[in-house]
Symmetry: D3
Subunit: 228 residues, 6 copies
Amino acid sequence: MSVVVQNIPRADKAIVDAFADYGVATVHEAQGRVGLLASYMRPIYRPAHISGSAVTCEVAPGDNWMIHVAVEQCQPGDILVVTPTSPCEDGYFGDLLAASLMSRGVRGLIMNAGVRDAAVLTEMKFPVWSKAIFAQGTVKETIANVNTPIVCAGQLIYPGDVIVADDDGVVCVRRKDAAGVLKKSQEREAKEVKTREILSSGQLGLDYYGFRDRLAAKGLKYVDYEGD
Amino acid sequence: MSVVVQNIPRADKAIVDAFADYGVATVHEAQGRVGLLASYMRPIYRPAHISGSAVTCEVAPGDNWMIHVAVEQCQPGDILVVTPTSPCEDGYFGDLLAASLMSRGVRGLIMNAGVRDAAVLTEMKFPVWSKAIFAQGTVKETIANVNTPIVCAGQLIYPGDVIVADDDGVVCVRRKDAAGVLKKSQEREAKEVKTREILSSGQLGLDYYGFRDRLAAKGLKYVDYEGD
Amino acid sequence: MSVVVQNIPRADKAIVDAFADYGVATVHEAQGRVGLLASYMRPIYRPAHISGSAVTCEVAPGDNWMIHVAVEQCQPGDILVVTPTSPCEDGYFGDLLAASLMSRGVRGLIMNAGVRDAAVLTEMKFPVWSKAIFAQGTVKETIANVNTPIVCAGQLIYPGDVIVADDDGVVCVRRKDAAGVLKKSQEREAKEVKTREILSSGQLGLDYYGFRDRLAAKGLKYVDYEGD
Amino acid sequence: MSVVVQNIPRADKAIVDAFADYGVATVHEAQGRVGLLASYMRPIYRPAHISGSAVTCEVAPGDNWMIHVAVEQCQPGDILVVTPTSPCEDGYFGDLLAASLMSRGVRGLIMNAGVRDAAVLTEMKFPVWSKAIFAQGTVKETIANVNTPIVCAGQLIYPGDVIVADDDGVVCVRRKDAAGVLKKSQEREAKEVKTREILSSGQLGLDYYGFRDRLAAKGLKYVDYEGD
Amino acid sequence: MSVVVQNIPRADKAIVDAFADYGVATVHEAQGRVGLLASYMRPIYRPAHISGSAVTCEVAPGDNWMIHVAVEQCQPGDILVVTPTSPCEDGYFGDLLAASLMSRGVRGLIMNAGVRDAAVLTEMKFPVWSKAIFAQGTVKETIANVNTPIVCAGQLIYPGDVIVADDDGVVCVRRKDAAGVLKKSQEREAKEVKTREILSSGQLGLDYYGFRDRLAAKGLKYVDYEGD
Amino acid sequence: MSVVVQNIPRADKAIVDAFADYGVATVHEAQGRVGLLASYMRPIYRPAHISGSAVTCEVAPGDNWMIHVAVEQCQPGDILVVTPTSPCEDGYFGDLLAASLMSRGVRGLIMNAGVRDAAVLTEMKFPVWSKAIFAQGTVKETIANVNTPIVCAGQLIYPGDVIVADDDGVVCVRRKDAAGVLKKSQEREAKEVKTREILSSGQLGLDYYGFRDRLAAKGLKYVDYEGD
């Protein structure tokens, strides 16, 4: 039996929205280096940077039927996260589905498979992270689940989790951790701005971070070049 | 023995040219989801969108000699389609060959291997779809066939077939099917414009396409979220 | 024991700088088709074109500690070349390290692994060639060597070698060969400009390069298309 | 903070053991086509077929320290399941760790990375499913979690889940579902034995499964070969 | 519309059978280095060596329905050749389908996707060449063509072509070329047996094949090692 | 210009031969975790374990001419190491070349590309490590170097280096380091035999290696399972 779970909880809108000010690398660090999707998930155009609440959707290989079902579960501020039940690079998603999602205020798509109409999606400014761009069509024959927990690109995602995506990839933050991770992201960012200023001025990381003693203790030796 | 087949037939120029108004995904659907090259064939710059008649060319691995032979067989409106006899990512093609092809009115290159001088090709606005961008040079020692049927990136291509290529990939239409597929592409596009309008206005695909009954018949259930 | 080799020799600055006028494909051909890094090394933004002297750096998988050590060994005009001791796609390098390198006049990074903060690096105009863009963080626990010979993306690189990188990839020129290879690159480029003019005018490469006799001797036959 | 979770619950031993009579494909079907690890997880020798309770272990890339920690958490009948926090193919595991595990009655290893000493592991008859066989060594510098839920080769695994592995790959059954899935596996197997007998006797699946009408309804046509 | 083409022609049985005496490399060479399927097509057990007439079958991604249709078209001496309409590694084929095919005298399977029940197929001695071994199940919802020309693993295959498969891969011989290619394979094999004897006796290929002059003409120089 | 370097030095035969008693993982560790070829280099049959002196050979993509040249440079106890100048998986090597090498006492082949006649090579007991098994033929048109330093599968190899290969892959030991690395391999092996005994008896690595304090210092916590 396949199910569509309705009325999923989402994190506070102000928190979800605020994540868009922080890069994926920052958020990933802020929550202890977890939650990252695999490196093959790439934006179809750059730059792109969004945050939103996850609506999750499973699809059969070569079959995009359930995306139509998932659209109805999407609200303004959501990001649709789709994964096939076995690996597939077909073009599950194009400009028509994007038009549907945009009409509902959806902010973007995380597609662990292929998408098509890449040129039109770019013109429409509908951001997509995907495994492939491929014109291959799909059928509508097999059902699967919407808004159940899924593993997408190596990462477990619950419906209602906060998704942040930018040029570095995609990260997932648990709904209940969102406020805390946002706070740590803000702190980290503030610290990094300051650090970047210092490093830009020419101070070495070796000194700024105090690495020299620990490196020496590990046995690092400095020698002069010998040769011609 | 290797051969160069001369005076291949081409589809009617008006038909070939008209295909450039339709995306690869549209043409691929219009002809029944056949004819697509593999997803690894990517444009070296985006956006890019061309149609033309195929001149086909085999090359030995690491040997671009036959491309020089194929150039002579090209006419205005053609697209050169090159495939190695075993997989190779070397840079078979650069700005000099592009200059030759452009002087003959050739519209682009489909290269099932690597190309180089990518920055110059981009400046020249010579569109290329390839497996790789790689500076690796090639030799000129081994002959092969020009304008014989080839399998390129998983797709059978006859000389004179119509090639359409855009940001979604590359599709091949049989010469004799070109008029019919063009007509179906036009019809499909007209229908999609209308559908996109409807979906943009917020009507759900579930309703517009009438999926609800069939989904219920397959056993799809709607349930409410349970949890905290 | 791990070492940091200091005071490595570099090629003459005028020679190193002059290489930036020549593409990777040209330099690679000029030195006899050697020295190219693997095709998976791609620029994070395009176009990009730099030359510089290699500072080499090994890192452990998932550990970027030694990059901080390598920064100190960099001078204006250098390019940092980093390779993990076993394959890894983590995001070893981001905007903070780029700020450090830019403050020292370093021209770019060749990273045989992943980088992150791709959007910021692009804004900063700090050119990077890498295997991946990936937000995955790294630790600082394990030491390795700086400025020893390394194999990076299939290519042996000595500290002080000249690196040239552009949209076609990355090539390495031995320090002592730099003057000679530069001269041959200049000669090749001059010749190619002329050849490109000739080919642009419509003369066939078959005639210009005199290939027809040799092709016939190999057994190439020209036949007319037969079919409907 | 990293944790080692002790005293995890396991499924009933009789149930866990009984799974070894059923193939991965059977169990995967019996529980509704979920729970399968990615296809790149292959046995280092064939045939191999085990079932057991999962002890889960995260490791840093290139760092096998936590495997030593996980060993202590293993009991007779367990299978150790290890995944790196970012992709890595290093040889995390060899004959010494296998000796440790065998002394504790552990039935095998699921390693989402590389292993080494493959010849010795084969002689020892210690079954391993891994992503790679690679002699590359690892360090012992970074801690991570033991017996927390992990995503391994695309599959979410909880400590105490039942793992079944054979020549077709690896499947995970939730601890609480184990009894039910075992029953369905038994039923499925019984049915398949009978079906296989029938198909071996020459009756067509088309008839046995009653596909002909449904295929005709979908529009399948039978035509005679035309040609020479 | 999808079709099943019935009563396809096959090559003479004596010829088809005789090919099993010759390796794939020999046949591939004998017919001028064409007809080879991609290198990722590997036998699920080794050694394995078969020849037979191709029955071709398309399948949708993740859907093995048409294999059941294709079974009925198979005769003793056939080899079933299956390819998905877009890339897929699911386990389309297992012991039940193998039982069906064996009951019809089918000699093996060429599967451009995944298979499962690998241990049982090995016991049954039913040879399979595939892209993957993977327990992932498939559905039965979408129709496609049987016994039409297909591109499988980069190679065009017509129904009735002769397939030869061994530990080196899979090669396809056109039905009408079969007699000629068999004769050339026999000649080549005879010559190779003699050559192998000569080379085993210690005579160098350089002398036996008369390469020395041509190598010198190309500019090959022999120098003595210099160094310590 | 391409060269064949003659009369390369080799390590002492007793030392070269003694390496065959030690696994690749052991030798790799003994020399400080350097010298390993990439993980894609796999034996064509298992088990296999050899040591020998490297004769190095470059080949053009799809061209095996230089292997014939290299054969003449081989002596009893050598291992031929071949790498293409750009990546290629063609079947460069088969039973005839193996016959030649065996007649000269060569112990095996390290082929950074494809080989063919895999079944015959297995019968002949001629061990090969390669990137692929593929029947694809090669030409004899382009020259390259023999017995110059090469980068093969990511590893720099000098002619005369000691090669050790087993089921875990391939490692290279510098000729001048061979005696020292052999000694360390022997010591390491002796130690591992003892350690394996201890671990087999059930003593934990945590205790034997004394890891507990260092793990606690890093912050590792032990907690009890909470849940149902």
